[in-house]
């Protein structure tokens, strides 16, 4: 084959499966989500720090409530829940696809960051309120255990292995780790804990917060959820590109090895 004949074939090489190719809608969705998340977070900070009134009991410390439950909500009920659903869908033979494995991995990584934020912001609230940075309280301990288990999940994903084997065992670990989420949620009911009970998602589903404080709390929840969505979109793309390059390199290596076999 001449070079002239090979050139058009290269130009029309299939690129539809490449994650480098993105629709304009996907690009704009990512940008808009990021922008709205940023604006919402800035508004939450302004309202939380300078607009809302101090609490009668907690004073100014109540201002930490506008972000601490928000990051906890994202970590436990959004990120780890999404990772568990994705893992289950990967393990279910009818829905098995690499998409679910990548989504679970991305969701856990971002969720771990939010889990760390939960523990740190809670600890900073705990020092002036309880007098200690940390207590082996049921909710705190269960949340720390959750972090350790999902760090283990991320470590397991870094162990070199066949992608399918890695995806399966990661999915099992995720489904095991997520069992701790209801323990964290109900720990304030099951045991006598230092940690206060649920303010919004309580047993009666009657929020114990009102007015501008409630709206700021809600805005914090929404903004931090959008921050998570934006981070998830970016993290998923990184995983998709890495998988695409890894798979391609393996195919190239196999093709080169086969070519060597033909020559010899």
């Amino acid at each position: 084959m001449t070079l002239e004949a090979a050139a058009p074939a290269q130009e029309t090489a299939p690129v539809a499966t490449s994650p480098l190719v993105r629709s304009p809608r996907a690009v704009w969705t990512e940008r808009i989500v990021g922008l709205v998340a940023l604006v919402g977070t800035v508004a939450t900070v302004i309202l939380g720090l300078w607009v809302t009134p101090p609490d009668q009991v907690q004073g100014d410390l109540v201002r930490l409530v506008y972000i601490h439950p928000g990051v906890a909500w994202v970590a436990l009920y959004v990120a780890f829940a999404l990772a568990a659903i994705s893992s289950a869908l990967y393990l279910w033979p009818r829905t098995r696809a690499r998409f679910w494995d990548r989504l679970a991995a991305a969701s856990v990584e971002v969720g771990v960051i939010f889990n760390i934020c939960t523990l740190i912001s809670g600890s900073i609230w705990g020092k002036p309120t309880w007098g200690v940075w940390w207590a082996w309280d049921a909710r705190l301990t269960a949340t720390a255990a959750l972090l350790v288990m999902f760090l283990g999940y991320l470590a397991l994903r870094r162990v070199p292995s066949d992608p399918e084997v890695r995806a399966k065992r990661s999915a099992f670990v995720c489904l095991f780790a997520v069992l701790d989420v209801p323990v964290v949620h109900f720990s304030v009911l099951w045991w006598k804990t230092l940690h206060q009970g649920a303010t919004v998602l309580n047993a009666n589903l009657s929020p114990q917060i009102h007015g501008s404080m409630a709206w700021t709390l809600l805005l914090g929840f929404l903004s931090l959820t959008l921050v998570f969505v934006w981070m998830l979109l970016i993290r998923y793309r990184i995983g998709a590109l890495e998988d695409w390059m890894g798979g391609g390199e393996l195919e190239d290596a196999l093709a080169a090895r086969q070519a060597e076999g033909v020559r010899s």
């Binding site: 480098l20 934020c117 970016i234 990184i238």
Partner: protein, 45 residues
């Protein structure tokens, strides 16, 4: 208020740093993927 500022600073600082690291990782991975695509003879956007 210093605990409040510390809480906001730590939380938003961690999220900001992680967000920035994601953008940096995405740029790095995209450049690497473009090189791989070029080596495979594929057109890249």
């Amino acid at each position: 208020m210093r605990y409040v500022y510390a809480g906001y600073g730590a939380t938003l600082g961690i999220l900001g740093l992680y967000g920035a690291s994601l953008v940096w990782r995405l740029r790095k991975t995209t450049h690497a993927a473009r090189r791989v695509a070029t080596s495979r003879g594929e057109t890249t956007p």
